[in-house]
């Protein structure tokens, strides 16, 4: 047990050092600490925050790996190097090493930049405030590369992560204290600071932007376009993908958010593990379906004519909204962030419902940017404490009523 003892001795020797949290952060990844209970319960359940966060990351790993294959596949397909995959989820054209290696070398840098920048800031703040490094960023750091376009420049990502962690989290007091979901804060920053890199028909396929620049420089090559389904719908164009393609996720989009199938599996795993809130996920789906039904109803009641710019998205079958864009990913992995969501069980139902409802509404009515889930979640993050306030007041009122009944 040389390593265990050496690390222990090192920790004991440097007990008073300012930088000890940085060492502890690494030490506790190797070994569950030797800390024992003192007052209160003498035994504790097995779960800690690391385990909880790790479970969420495990649920995202399939999306990450799929995202790598998809990035390569979309790239090769757009450049005409391979044929369209026809065999469904298990298409041989999709799961090739060639696709993977293109995607791998694009995605891994995103992951590394996200973690290195984010954790560095977390450690700095932990040392400054002399507390342990909290685990919140483990999940944020994995979410970020999954929700950005594949060609996002790394410096841009680094700036956004720094902004998101400092302004979105640390100024509020760090993990557990933030109001907005840090990963979405990072994405929102990217979106508003560098909109041309975050929407349009060029950013979703690796190489498309570069090709555009070549054309602008006067080279004689074909332009590459990789429109997302939402982009097509918003412009009233035909959608070139089947419903099954959408479900499997063999479509252009942000790195890890395309495969509804894998997100669904991840969500079920989180519900089973009792880490993700089924209340939020379920009510969010219900909210989205209801909003979709309302729009479908407006179309069939002919309130909206075919010429309307909203027609494309409003006439989309209500349940297909669940499959396209970032809705599924947002619902399963972002809306359920326990810190920024409602914290009461009743509140979670209301919170989730409104996220689903607003996501589809924003999606349909926002002409500039046809995705609503990011904005809907950020908006509801702000309102979550208000929802909780009224839920808790219900309990308080019950207590007051009991008291009044006694006095009367």
């Amino acid at each position: 047990m040389g390593l265990k003892q050496n690390l222990h001795n090192f920790k004991e020797k440097n007990k008073d050092k300012k930088w000890l949290p940085a060492f502890s952060a690494i030490h506790t990844f190797l070994f569950l600490p030797n800390e024992t209970t003192h007052n209160g319960t003498h035994i504790k359940a097995a779960d800690d925050l690391k385990r909880t966060m790790n479970t969420v990351i495990m649920a995202m790993v399939p999306c990450l790996i799929f995202g790598m294959f998809n990035a390569g596949y979309q790239h090769h397909l757009a450049f005409g190097e391979i044929q369209q995959a026809t065999g469904g989820f298990l298409s041989a054209e999709f799961w090739t090493l060639d696709n993977f290696s293109v995607g791998f070398w694009k995605v891994i840098p995103l992951v590394v930049v996200s973690y290195v920048v984010g954790l560095a800031i977390e450690i700095l703040f932990a040392i400054k405030n002399s507390h342990e490094v909290e685990e919140g960023y483990l999940v944020t750091g994995m979410l970020v590369p999954l929700i950005v376009p594949i060609d996002t420049p790394l410096w841009m990502l680094a700036v956004a992560v720094a902004f998101g962690v400092v302004i979105g989290k640390e100024v509020f007091g760090g993990t557990g204290m933030n109001i907005l979901n840090p990963a979405l804060t990072i994405r929102a920053f990217l979106f508003f600071a560098y909109p041309t890199w975050m929407s349009g028909d060029k950013v979703w396929v690796h190489g498309a932007v570069e090709r555009d620049q070549m054309i602008a420089a006067g080279q004689n090559v074909d332009a590459i376009s990789g429109e997302t389904i939402l982009g097509s719908l918003a412009q009233g164009k035909e959608v070139a993908y089947s419903v099954w393609d959408m479900f499997y996720g063999i479509i252009p989009g942000s790195v890890g958010e395309t495969s509804t199938l894998l997100i669904l599996l991840g969500g079920l795993f989180l519900i089973f593990a009792k880490i993700g809130s089924w209340r939020i996920m379920l009510s969010s789906v219900v909210g989205a379906l209801i909003m979709g039904l309302i729009f479908n109803g407006l179309v069939s009641a002919e309130v909206i004519s075919e010429g309307s710019k909203f027609y494309g998205l409003m006439s989309t079958e209500f349940w297909q909204h669940l499959l396209i864009g970032g809705f599924a990913f947002g619902t399963v992995f972002m809306a359920t962030d326990p810190v920024t969501a409602s914290q009461t069980n009743k509140g979670k139902l209301i919170y989730g419902f409104l996220i689903g409802f607003l996501s589809i509404m924003i999606r349909v009515f926002n002409p500039a940017y046809p995705e609503g889930v990011m904005l809907a979640i950020l908006l509801m993050n702000v309102f979550a404490p208000t929802i909780d306030h009224y839920v808790v007041q219900g309990n308080v009122k019950k207590r007051m009523k009991r008291l009044k009944a006694k006095v009367a």
């Binding site: 359940a45 993990t175 593990a273 914290q343």
Partner: protein
Amino acid sequence: MSKDIKINKGLDIKLVGVAEKAIENAIISNSYSIKPEDFHSVIPKLVAKEGTLVKAGETLFYNKDNEAMKFVSPVSGEITEVQRGARRRIDAVKITADKTQTFLDHGKFDLASDAEKTKAHLLATGCWAFIKQRPYDVIAKADSTPKAIFVSGYASAPLAADLDYTLSSKEAELQAAVTALSKFTDGGVHISVGKNSNSPLANLQNAITHKVSGPHPSGNVGTLINKVNPVNKGETVWTINAQDLVIIGELLLTGKFNAERIIALAGSSVKKPRYFKTKLGSEIATMIYDNGVERDGNDRIISGNVLTGKQVKPDGYLDYYSNVITVIPEGDDYELFGWNKPVFNKISTSRALTFSWLSPKKKYDLNTNTNGEHRAFVTTGTYEEVFPLDIYPMQILKACMYKDLDEMEALGMYEVAPEDFALTEFVCVSKQPHQKIIREGLDLMLKEIG
């Protein structure tokens, strides 16, 4: 109106080392110690000086705020030491017991006496110390009038002493105590018994019996209060431990303060866990080391159960309110990749690669490791699963932490005691000290509102 109480929210923590139902007389320790810290918020005024001889039941100290409230010696013997801490605070009064015990005779009490007389008798004989009140979970104020009195006769905590067993054949004492207590309130003396139990408390006169079932904390008195008649602002309820009714009853019937108590010695570090007859305040070392606890083992000795008990040193003492001593292994070792590897040998309410849900009947050998470090509150919804009271646990904990008295009051602070938050503390992913937070919150309210 008796009422069956069934709770669904909660958690039965099944541990190795349940006491076998066999009583032995503990090797009589001749060292006893009464600690004022057991009587939370009481400031003691010493009566008995070092070197004096006392009889069992003679006053050691009284409450500074109420001179009538006495605290008495559990044994006869010589006061060998008054241990003092910072600012001359009394930490412990140590007594070396005589070989043959003599009792101070308070005389047989007329159970038909009115409330005032009964109160004066209980205060003078030291029995008042067993009566606690809510709000604040402290010894009842002598001038308070409880709207009801609650006794839990069902122990659902892990490795708790089985009250059906330890109280058997004590019906007469229990009845005397309940009759006396029933004088103090119009709301009745409410007693909970296990649904399928054979409790000597089940058929008492002057009491209302409730059958409780469900996981821990179904046996907590706080759960009983919350389901029967929750405390409102301005109201007081009293609570008494079932085993302490026996001491009160015997005093009323015979005039003797007999501090004898049957306790369980339990836990995975005990070779042959079983029951012992001992006295409150008794030194623990003699009892445990002669009965199968390794003398140089790396163990945690707890006066009380694993959720709410006090950590004591081997030369420590059984505290005033406990009827179980638990000995479990210390967990002061590192575990390689303990935070992410699948876990089969620890209890968890989640299924995050923790597999205790696969074997709900399995008994676990848990140690004192915290299984992770202290963090800010992050996850939500986990406390509610194990918390049966109609109170928002995380919200009230946070209100205590930021010391908002109005909010604490509105959220139900008058109804709770630290032990109600033992299970939420056990499952807490952020390893927050819930019971300590609630205790400090109650102390703040006691100081500010009183």
